[in-house]
């Protein structure tokens, strides 16, 4: 197994590297809540320190202290070894500390130049000196090796580029310490690469970086030090060389307060909620689905936990089922009744309720009392004819307060006087007061202390015993393994895995996509180029996106001008790549077909890849004008000896890059459908163990070449000439999963461009016993 791609093992031992900013015994309390307890944190000059921790662990609070938003309750900050007080963000900036938040703070309606100099405009004799600002902007962009025109409106930039603008802004105020909060959450893989390159450059310039991320594997590739926070306490600190994924998870999640276990001793009832093929469109009409054809069944008395990262679609799923968001496909049935077209009020009436994620924004009416909040969803229950009954309402309120154990100064207390945990209980109590049969809870334990969490889970557990069907979502792994009978992991709108209560935390986190697909494939198969293309939810063959990705890869290779000869295979996928190639002029390029390509089928022209590529680039084309398979081994040798074939073979031997497709060994394989090989012959190869094909060579599932009488007759580059060459395959699609894996196992591939769906299937194939939904 080769080393991972971004290998940045520090060359100096961390202890010797200077500490530029340190937090010493920092404590931060907000009233009765202790967000940070005696934390020690070092930022080393010119290095990346990553801060790991679950939600609520205190990461943001610590960052806010470092960047001047808060002041520590006790403890001190040391800058360059001397104690310092940072009383505001302005002071922090002046000291050289900048923070780039997860939600970027750029003004979208203004251009890049104005954003970078926002608040610090360079004044000239006649007002703002735009020319000077522009000049400085260009210098910054050059330093960051980014090609962004200062006059571009920020809203026209991709998210990754916007982030670069924020970094440029931080640099323009001479920041020495850059804090980046979840910078990669919303970036594409390519943008992440750019960001990491920029971080690398920043380090070289002596900028120190504090990095916060939930994407553990990704963070591991960039970090020099790791610090783990849990419940406001620093549980571990170590340099990169001493840590791995398991270390991080162990320290993040640790031994926990017992949040209970799945309630037992009763049978589940009938199916309460049935979701089939539900899709929810993303806001803004981008056409993309934030919940993608998801199906789920829930029975009375059952507790299901949904785990997933931000953007996985958990909240949208719940809000759609509750009636807040419209669906673009699929059905939701409550006790067999289709909920389509029902308003939120009607669904509550029917017994389906939702407690939202953000209790301040969506859960509580701050102007009303505790009692009024509790009774808000049950108004019908205490209204007789036209008038409400105070007595009835009071009964409902008191019962709620008792059952949900809310600590309050009576029902008449202002809602703001309650602690976070009790406020959450009010939101839950409000919904439970409607006597529902299905309860959806979006992150019910968010922002509440451990004691209140345990009480909430106890409440849900008791409810389930009484027949309540419960679905709760969480972004903390330990909460999955408490009262849930079933754990569902969502990733990009789909269910990526289902587990029982005996799952491990690593399994759950892996299924959520916290593990990078590209990373996994690269590491597992020793690739030096891997690109996983979002398949845009096309299930059989993501031809469009694959073709686009392949085309741009080819284009970038050709543009660099370092290749003289490119060898190509054939097939639909490669043809699509070439069709997607933006027109380029490369007259010195030579392209050659790597295998015999004469065929009986007149309509499909396997030469097409070579000739199209030559047309588009003005390159010189050479094909191998011999059949794919000969009648006998002797015939093969003769045919390969022909001048034209020899020339092609010699040219292929000089190829700097070979770009190929991967085929299956079934009757639907392109080789068969285009008439290059007969079905019977293909069947023979399959019988001999052949699972995947590349450039006319067949491999079994363990990656070993399959040799048979049939394969000996194939006219193509010999295997020994392929070893050690730069071969990049473009392939995807559900039917090719095994074929691609087989070729990957052979070790011949240096690069792979594949679609997400197939990539995931291949990665999952290696995992032991993952119950697929």
């Amino acid at each position: 197994m080769k080393l991972p791609v971004h290998d940045e093992t520090p060359t100096t031992t961390p202890d010797k590297v200077e500490v530029v900013l340190a937090a010493r015994d920092v404590t931060k309390s907000f009233g009765a809540v202790h967000a940070l307890k005696g934390v020690n944190f070092d930022v080393h000059r010119g290095q990346v320190t990553t801060l790991f921790g679950e939600n609520g662990a205190g990461k943001s609070t610590l960052m806010k202290i470092l960047s001047g938003v808060h002041m520590p309750t006790t403890g001190e900050l040391m800058l360059d070894g001397a104690p310092v007080e940072i009383r505001s963000t302005v002071e922090a900036r002046e000291l050289g500390i900048s923070i780039i938040h997860q939600e970027l703070s750029l003004a979208p309606n203004m251009n890049v130049r104005d954003n970078i100099f926002l608040g610090r405009e360079i004044m000239g004799p006649r007002g703002v000196n735009f020319a000077e600002e522009e000049r400085q902007c260009r210098i910054l962009m050059e330093e960051l090796e980014e090609d962004i025109d200062p006059l571009t409106p920020v809203e026209d930039l991709r998210l990754g580029q916007q982030q670069i603008v924020e970094i440029a802004r931080a640099l323009s105020v001479n920041s020495r310490i850059l804090i980046m909060d979840e910078p990669t959450s919303a970036l594409s893989a390519a943008e992440v690469d750019v960001l990491f390159k920029v971080i690398h450059d920043l380090k070289a310039r002596g900028v120190s970086i504090v990095y916060i991320s939930h994407h553990l594997e990704e963070a591991l590739t960039i970090t020099d030090h790791a610090v783990v926070l849990r419940d406001g306490v620093m549980t571990a600190y170590a340099p990169r060389a001493e840590i791995d994924l398991e270390w991080i998870v162990r320290n993040m999640v640790g031994e926990n307060f017992d949040l209970g276990s799945p309630p037992t001793g009763y049978d589940f009832g009938d199916t309460a909620l049935s979701i089939e093929g539900l899709s929810v469109p993303a806001p803004g009409g981008s056409g993309y689905s934030v919940v993608d054809r998801l199906s789920l069944n829930l029975r009375q008395g059952e507790i299901v936990c949904i785990y997933g990262l931000m953007g996985a679609g958990r909240t949208e799923l719940m809000e759609c089922v509750a009636g807040r968001l419209p669906a673009s496909g699929g059905t939701v049935r409550l006790h067999g009744r289709d909920l389509a077209g029902m308003t939120i009020a009607q669904r509550i009436e029917a017994g389906l309720v939702l407690t939202p994620e953000d209790r301040q924004r969506d859960g509580l009416v701050q102007t009303m009392t505790v009692g009024q909040n509790l009774s808000l969803a049950s108004i019908g229950a205490f209204t007789r004819r036209l008038l409400t009954s105070k007595a009835d309402e009071q009964e409902i309120i008191e019962r709620s307060i008792r059952e949900v154990t809310i600590k309050t100064d009576g029902g008449g207390a202002a809602i703001g006087s309650l602690s976070g945990g009790n406020q959450q209980k009010v939101v839950i109590g409000k919904m439970l007061a409607t006597k529902p049969s299905v309860v959806l809870l979006d992150e019910p334990s968010r922002g509440i202390d451990i004691g209140a969490k345990a009480e909430v889970f106890r409440l849900l557990s008791e409810g389930a015993k009484d027949g309540l069907a419960v679905v709760y979502s969480t972004s903390e792994v330990s909460e999955c393994l408490s009262i849930a009978h079933r754990i569902i992991v969502m990733h990009k709108g789909k269910i990526s895995a289902t587990f029982g209560p005996d799952a491990t935390k690593e399994q759950i986190m892996a299924a959520s996509g916290e593990v990078d697909l590209q990373q996994s494939l690269t590491v597992a198969f020793g690739l030096d180029h891997c690109e996983v293309v979002t398949d845009l939810h096309q299930e059989d063959l993501a031809l469009g996106p694959l073709g686009a990705a392949g085309g741009s890869f080819l284009a970038s290779v050709i543009a660099k001008g370092k290749v003289g000869v490119i060898g190509v295979g054939h097939g639909r996928t490669l043809l699509s790549c070439v069709e997607n190639l933006p027109p380029q002029s490369a007259p010195n390029l030579r392209v050659v077909s790597l295998m015999g390509a004469l065929t009986t089928g007149a309509d499909m022209n396997p030469h097409a890849v070579v000739t199209r590529l030559a047309d588009k680039t003005g390159a010189e084309a050479a094909s191998m004008p011999v059949p794919f398979i000969a009648n006998s081994t002797a015939d093969r040798d003769v045919l390969l000896g022909q001048k034209a074939a020899q020339r092609a073979a010699d040219l292929a031997a000089q190829a700097d890059l070979m770009i190929v497709g991967i085929g299956t060994t079934g009757a639907q394989a392109e080789l068969v459908t285009t008439g290059m090989i007969e079905q019977a012959e293909m069947a023979g190869i399959a019988e001999a163990g052949g699972v995947g094909e590349m450039l006319g060579h067949f491999f079994d599932k363990r990656g070993k070449p399959v040799g048979s009488e049939i394969t000996d007759r194939i006219l193509t580059q010999p295997l020994d000439r392929l070893k050690g060459r730069r071969i990049v395959a473009v392939a995807g699609g559900e039917i090719k999963i095994h074929a691609i894996k087989a070729v990957l196992e052979s070790g011949l591939l240096g690069g792979l461009i594949i679609d997400e769906h197939t990539a995931r299937a291949i990665v999952d194939m290696d995992k032991p016993d993952t119950a697929q939904h």
């Binding site: 907000f30 924004r361 859960g363």
Partner: protein, 354 residues
């Protein structure tokens, strides 16, 4: 992570504590009952400055003036509770008055060659309907087309005023007393009569205020209104039909403006198209002085009425002691600013919690 504080201060002890509760203190009491205390202060001050002020007949006359603004304010309060605003009520008052006048003059149907003289009860019903209609248009614009309330009702303000001017050609309908033979007398009953010495207008205000109070405190709708004004998203997720509530409050505001239009034009027995110009601002002032929050979710009928009386008694008081009407405008403005500042002190502290 909220600061768990409660507004517990040491009670001033004794009498105040026993009336206002254990933890009251003077500042708190003054703040919460400020409209009431302001009214008392105004009455006392003007009674001292003019012997004519503190007489029953004067109070009733002043109350009659207040009735118009009070009616507008009650409707405005409902809209403000929802977090919106209705700038069109002054124009609707004028429009509905003109419409009533138009009906009373006799509707000429050329095609059939007759002139319809609807009886007074029909005029009232139709006029209320017009007020409701304008309110409905406002409501739909705000609720479904997401037009900001300020803009939607500003538009209605102009349109309604324009229609009123078109209907009268800028003139005034004068003949509103009706004719025995036509069966449409009684219009002036609203304006001139008294029951038990109390002007009808004041009684109507009382009835509308009591109805509104009941609506807010004892019906589901009232709960819906307070919750959607306090936090629309939370209310919606709790099953409150927020859009219906939004449209309804504008309809009710329009109807209150129509009632006010009827009362005013019957008081004057004439309906002019410019009636009610700038009245909406006074209505908003009354609501604000009464302690409602412009963000929505907070306010009571009692407070709004007190606010209307404060402004009305203040203005009339200034007239009685002979202060120029220009000073009235300054005073009214100062009172409003003071009221809003006090509102933000009262609610600003609470808003930071939670």
């Amino acid at each position: 992570m909220t600061d768990v504080t409660t507004n517990k201060k040491q009670g001033s002890g004794g009498l105040i504590a026993s009336i206002f509760g254990e933890n009251a203190n003077l500042v708190q009491i003054l703040l919460e009952g400020r409209a009431f205390f302001a009214l008392i202060a105004i009455i006392i001050i003007f009674s001292i400055l003019s012997p004519n002020y503190a007489t029953v007949s004067n109070f009733l006359i002043m109350a009659n003036h207040v009735a118009i603004f009070g009616l507008l304010s009650v409707g405005m309060m409902l809209v403000i509770l929802n977090g919106g605003i209705d700038l069109s009520v002054g124009s609707v008052l004028g429009l509905t008055g003109v419409f009533a006048g138009f009906l009373m003059q006799g509707v000429e149907l050329e095609a059939a060659g007759v002139i319809l003289y609807p009886p007074v009860w029909a005029v009232v019903v139709l006029t209320l309907g017009l007020g409701a209609f304008v309110g409905a248009v406002n409501g739909v614009l705000v609720a479904y087309f997401r037009v900001p309330a300020f803009v939607a009702t500003l538009g209605s303000l102009y349109v309604a005023r324009g229609v009123a001017l078109l209907m009268t050609n800028g003139l005034t309908f004068n003949n509103l007393s009706g004719n025995e033979s036509l069966g449409n007398t009684g219009f002036d009953w609203l304006g001139f009569n008294r029951i038990g010495g109390v002007p009808i207008g004041v009684i109507i205000l009382a009835v509308v205020a009591i109805a509104a109070g009941l609506l807010l405190s004892r019906t589901a709708f009232g709960r819906w209104l307070y919750s959607s004004g306090g936090n629309e998203r939370a209310a919606e997720l709790s099953g409150v039909p927020v859009k219906k509530v939004q449209i309804t409050v504008y309809v009710l505001s329009g109807m209150c403006a129509a009632i006010a239009g009827l009362v005013l034009s019957s008081q004057l027995t004439s309906a002019g198209p410019t009636a009610g110009t700038t009245y909406e601002l006074t209505a908003i002032a009354a609501v604000v002085v009464g302690g409602a929050s412009l963000m929505g979710g907070r306010g009571t009928v009692r407070g709004t009425l007190l606010g209307a009386f404060v402004i009305g008694f203040l203005s009339d008081g200034l007239v009685i002691i002979g202060v120029s009407s220009y000073w009235q405008t300054v005073f009214t403005g100062a009172v409003i600013v003071l009221a809003v500042m006090l509102n933000s002190i009262q609610y600003g502290g609470k808003a930071k919690k939670g």
